[in-house]
């Protein structure tokens, strides 16, 4: 027997019942898609905050620098290494670091100076897009700096404000100069927020007397689907003798937390989907009970139990297919909208951080393969699981009992 045309015919025959069943399944699918996309968006934003704004996918340091961030421990010849990395399918940005003391308006604070490569850094991270007030660094204005949000508060400065910086240069002499605040970053992480003092790399070299080498090279995969561990191996082979770490190695707590959240998200989805499963089970059971006499007649005229079972399963799967099409049709545009606009929760929470990285108070959806396929597969799984019992019940009905069912 050709089960699909018969199932389709049965679905179209009982239009109202089918519309209610498919409608409730489609609504559930829509909610599941939105929920999954929101969850994926949250994880993606967290990872982006870690990787895209701050860390980069991979970092290269001279051996020992991470345990003792010394001004003299540098990666030699960074230009050549960056060139090799770019040829191997990576973006790479050299960074310089130093510590100092900043004073402004009678306030002072320790600072963590960072020399930024203005051409390469935007290819590796989105730091240049995190400016909350004022503007990003400019090569034409080397005496203008971008500082962290909390540092600006501590020093009591706003864009245009003056800051005096004192440090010890590489040659042991005192390094000091006056800078003007060009921009203030929004919250990106505790270290940057409290002490971040970003300047043009050439100015850093001048101030600190660092002529050669660099303290860190941040690397980003051009192809984001490239496996991180394999990419790190490639980078390590291009930077022999250097310490190569992935962002997961650099922020193990955050990496673990994202992994746990990913699993807990699955668990939450399972709970939400199970509730949806009950709706589907109920709709399917009602459908079967409503048609018991019909199944009795079908069996009396020679339809076999496996045929009845297959027919009910096919009807449910077809309804799930239609419901999924509707759910995706309605859900994808909505998710796409919230991918761009986000849900702003800044009135309820702002400045929260996790493992030293700021949490974005705006929740965005992220429509990746997982968010798209998980609700679809789950709906099919729930439908099949939910329909087995009523299908078995209908298949095992005795024709006489079914025909006399009241």
């Amino acid at each position: 027997m050709k089960i699909i045309p018969i199932a389709l015919r049965n679905i179209s025959r009982k239009r109202v019942r089918s519309a209610i069943t498919i409608g409730s399944m489609a609504f559930a699918g829509f909610i599941m898609l939105f929920f999954a996309a929101l969850g994926q968006g949250m994880l993606y934003t967290m990872e982006q905050n870690a990787v895209g704004v701050y860390l980069g996918d991979i970092q290269i340091h001279a051996p020992g620098y991470r345990s003792d961030p010394d001004l003299y421990t540098r990666v030699p010849d960074p230009a050549a290494l960056v060139d090799k990395l770019e040829k191997a399918g990576f973006h790479a940005a050299p960074r310089l670091y130093g510590f100092g003391l900043a004073a402004a308006s009678g306030n002072s604070s320790g600072i963590w100076m960072r020399g930024v490569d203005l051409i390469r850094e935007p290819k590796v991270t989105l730091l240049d897009r995190q400016v909350m007030e004022g503007a990003w660094l400019s090569a034409d204005k080397p005496k203008e700096v971008v500082i962290g949000k909390k540092l600006a508060y501590t020093l009591g400065v706003k864009p245009g404000g003056e800051i005096v910086v004192v440090s010890q240069a590489a040659d042991g002499a005192m390094a000091n100069d006056i800078y003007h605040v060009r921009g203030i970053l929004k919250s990106v992480g505790d270290a940057v927020d409290q002490g971040g003092f970003l300047m043009v790399d050439a100015e850093f070299r001048r101030l600190m007397g660092v002529a050669e080498g660099t303290h860190e090279i941040a690397v980003a995969r051009v192809d984001k689907d490239r496996i991180l561990a394999e990419a790190a191996d490639t980078v390590a082979s291009l930077a022999p003798g250097m310490e190569v770490k992935t962002w997961r190695d650099l922020q193990p707590v955050l990496a673990k937390m994202i992994d746990v959240m990913d699993i807990s998200l699955l668990f939450m989805l399972f709970i939400a989907y199970s509730a949806v499963g009950m709706v589907i089970l109920n709709a399917t059971l009602m459908n079967v009970f409503e048609r018991i006499r019909e199944f009795g007649v079908m069996k009396a005229i020679g339809v076999t139990p496996p045929q009845v079972f297959s027919l009910i399963m096919a009807e449910a799967v077809l309804e799930a297919v239609i419901a999924n099409v509707l759910a995706l049709g309605a859900g994808i545009p909505v998710v796409r909208y919230f991918e761009v606009h986000g849900i702003d929760l800044s009135n309820f929470s702002s400045g929260a951080s996790l493992a030293g990285l700021a949490l974005d108070p705006v929740w965005y959806c992220k429509l990746n393969t997982k968010a798209l396929t998980m609700p679809v597969w789950f709906m099919f799984a729930v439908v099949l699981a939910a329909v087995i019992y009523p299908a078995m019940k209908a298949a095992l009905l005795k024709p006489l009992d079914a025909m006399h069912h009241q």
């Binding site: 009396a300 005229i301 020679g302």
Partner: protein, 231 residues
Amino acid sequence: MPLIRLSDVTKIYGAENKHPFTALAGVSLQIEAGEFAAIMGPSGSGKSTLMHILGCLDTPTTGEYHLEGDNVDRLRGDQLAAIRNKKIGFVFQGFNLIPRTNAVENVELPMLYSNTPPEERRRRAAEALRRMGLAGWEGNRPNELSGGQQQRVAIARAIVNDAPLILADEPTGNLDTKTSAEIMELFVRINREEGKTIILVTHEADIAAYSRRIIRVRDGLIVDDERREGR
């Protein structure tokens, strides 16, 4: 070889219970192909149980049932379903048409599950309806047909697969006298012109009078088996 041969068939409901009910107490019966027989009896006599066993809708507790020479009393559910589909057409008192499904689709139903091509299915269903005097009513749903018309659709469904045996359980029970007579004339015609074996269950003597054999059942036993001239 008789079309139907029952040998000492019993049917006991709740045999494992303290108070089992014996619906058939040892029935032996032979019906030849082409016969038109009526099973009569008061309520609770066992006539419907006998009909259900003849229709492979139920199985005997003991005894043997041979249909066209094949022993069918111990077959599995799917094997019985195949026999019902190929060898037996049913007509029920309550018509038992599928709601929200038009007449021709109701008649197609037995062929729907047996790989008959759609065009062939539609042609045979329309032809069966025409023979029942329902040409032009193919697209009407059960709620758009009178009781008599619904029963004609049910008869068309019973004959569409060309089954040799038609079983009718109180086929006129829900119909008025005039319509009952029309329906019975249809059975007579199917029996005479197409040679189908017809067995009907009824408690009405004037309906049984259309048949050429009346089997009377009481307390689970055949108490009388009368062969006669039908109308």
